[in-house]
Symmetry: C2
Subunit: 167 residues, 2 copies
């Protein structure tokens, strides 16, 4: 398969990657979530080449993640802002941020540069993933994937069909 057709695969992860999986795209979204809206701000803060940025922004607009508007008044100022669809990518970004904070800062070093604070209660803490039903935190081993229709987990095919007689 070519990467080009990864968006047509019958899997939400693959389709999501077709939208946000290109190099640089998540960094553009990071900036967008921090409130950045202008071409040159993105370009300077990320350090991305201008043509690549232009291409990515165009794709994100086409996919409905960002909205492009010509804010008239000052020069040719163009703004890119997150749509609702884009806003809802926040959990993806936070999950990356949290994992990076936990695993990618060597003990001797300075530690990650950002902390998150919950507006509602004032807690300075990373959001956690929980079961919406019982409220317990969930990790990889707490969830089972069920294929549509099937009543059983969509688990490993593991040595199924071939080698029918030999064991």
């Amino acid at each position: 398969m070519r990467w080009r057709s990864v968006g047509e695969v019958n899997c939400s992860v693959a389709r999501t990657l077709a939208v946000i999986g290109e190099r640089w795209t998540m960094l553009i979204l990071r900036e967008a979530f921090l409130g950045r809206r202008r071409f040159d701000d993105f370009q300077r803060n990320i350090g991305i080449a201008r043509n690549i940025l232009a291409t990515r922004l165009r794709a994100l607009v086409k996919d409905g993640i960002l909205e492009r508007s010509r804010a008239d008044g000052e020069h040719a100022r163009v703004e890119y802002r997150l749509t609702k669809k884009g806003m809802e990518l926040y959990p993806v970004l936070v999950a990356m941020l949290k994992w990076g904070d936990a695993w990618l800062w060597p003990a001797g070093g300075k530690g990650p540069p950002l902390k998150l604070m919950h507006r509602g209660c004032g807690a300075k803490a990373m959001p956690a993933l929980v079961c919406p039903n019982c409220g317990d935190p969930v990790g990889a081993r707490d969830m089972i994937a069920l294929a549509r229709g099937a009543a059983r987990p969509a688990q490993s095919t593991e040595r199924a069909a071939h080698r029918p007689a030999s064991r």
Copy 2:
């Protein structure tokens, strides 16, 4: 900046992307979380070219996400399994899955192929992101990013330094 040095940037998102941000990598992890462990299983299920898969697997092992072991007994069977560090990438995958489920399946179509079930309580539902302190669900607008040290949000620089006299 080259993509090569994105891992040295002072940002957990950028560093995380240096590890899992290459094309195909998250699809390899999807398979790993579904219980797949073997080279050919990854290759067939994802549809990735073999050389690319080999390169990605090597990188994931080097980064401590997967562990390579030569399970002796059958042929030259090699296994790749998630480490603890790798397991903790689950929230990233789930966030993508959830967003894809919500936004990438046209109304007329068949809908996403996987559902998740919580082992603990049996609920069939996607995990949600909540504040660990108060338990409220959080979205992009509910959190504020604070730069280390600084007491104020790490928000947009927006027309700050230059243009000092003209307004």
